[in-house]
Symmetry: C2
Subunit: 181 residues, 2 copies
DNA sequence: GTCTATATACAGATAGAC
DNA sequence: GTCTATCTGTATATAGAC
């Protein structure tokens, strides 16, 4: 409904990009302001503290999560394939926000950990009807986690050893074969 | 052969513990010295820079990696089961060092990323003879990555949603069934 | 809404006493 | 081999002008 100011979104984009590309330590308010093309004071008008920046990212995650779950549930090639595909970093807005928040979570930010855990539960619920049992469900979830981990681990644009193209299709087929009812 | 001084190891232990328990930002030289019970100057005698501390952890990873690979190769219930078991954080020395280095890797430290990638390749080689094809091998590796990710993501002793006990046994059986020759 | 200037704290690192 | 004292840069945050 209420569209947030453009400057505000630019700052949030910059903060997120710094977290993803350079890590938590590099994601300072100063750097975010510079990258967004505003002054420190300008940033602090929109986000009165670093905590407020983090909360902005968490709110962004919630919005993108709902869209993602909706898309997974209605995917033509099935929820599992759609879920695994979206677990590969394709540069979607959701991917970037997840990686950004995982950096914060690993620096002791409980709100970020909670938000990621909640999203994982949403995904788990969306996959449950596809898996033959809870063990199969865990397999699906862990492969997805593994894909994210390899993307999250490398900083600076170096791609991890993540399957793509035909290799990813084969992996999806194997997982589906091992886990479907 | 040459046993390193005890104070040196204490400092490295403290630095590693801070990375694992509180995250990269909290792992300062000051905090490491305090936790190890030495002064800042004392720490700097053993490690002349923060970079030297990181290199100390990387060297520790190399030593522990070789032991781990040896143990996996000679495990009674097979390499895959042994590998997946060691992917659960059981508080082993290797687990802690891996998590610590993954925190550094995610803050743009290339040497840490390289060391972790090398270890992953060692594991991959140890698993290759067990997997029916490359896709199956990727499945094994990604489940292991997923287990680590869930352990790495939470800070402050909160355990992630990682299967244990009978659940882990069932998961191991499922993975082995889906991937073995 | 956006800016400059500044206060306060803490980071990594150096110098040199013991 | 371990300590204290100190230098320099940078982080978060506040105050207040425009």
């Amino acid at each position: 409904m209420s569209r947030p100011p453009r400057a505000r979104e630019s700052v949030l984009d910059a903060f997120e990009a710094l977290l993803v590309e350079d890590g938590e330590r590099a994601a300072t308010m100063d750097a975010a302001a510079r990258r967004a093309g505003v002054s420190k004071g300008g940033l602090l008008y929109h986000f009165g503290s670093k905590e407020a920046l983090v909360e902005g990212l968490i709110e962004r995650l919630r919005v993108l999560s709902l869209e993602d779950i909706e898309q997974i549930r209605s995917a033509p090639d099935g929820p599992v394939a759609a879920f695994m595909r979206t677990s590969i970093m394709t540069g979607t807005a959701l991917d970037r926000t997840i990686i950004a928040l995982s950096r914060l979570a690993q620096n002791g930010h409980p709100a970020a950990s909670d938000a990621l855990r909640d999203l994982r539960l949403l995904w788990e619920d969306a996959m449950r009807s596809e898996a033959k049992d809870e063990t199969a469900l865990q397999l699906i979830m862990l492969v997805s986690d593994g894909l994210y981990f390899n993307n999250a681990l490398t900083v600076g644009g170096v791609p991890g050893p993540v399957p793509t193209g035909a290799d990813l299709d084969a992996l999806i087929a194997l997982v589906r074969d091992a886990t479907s009812r």
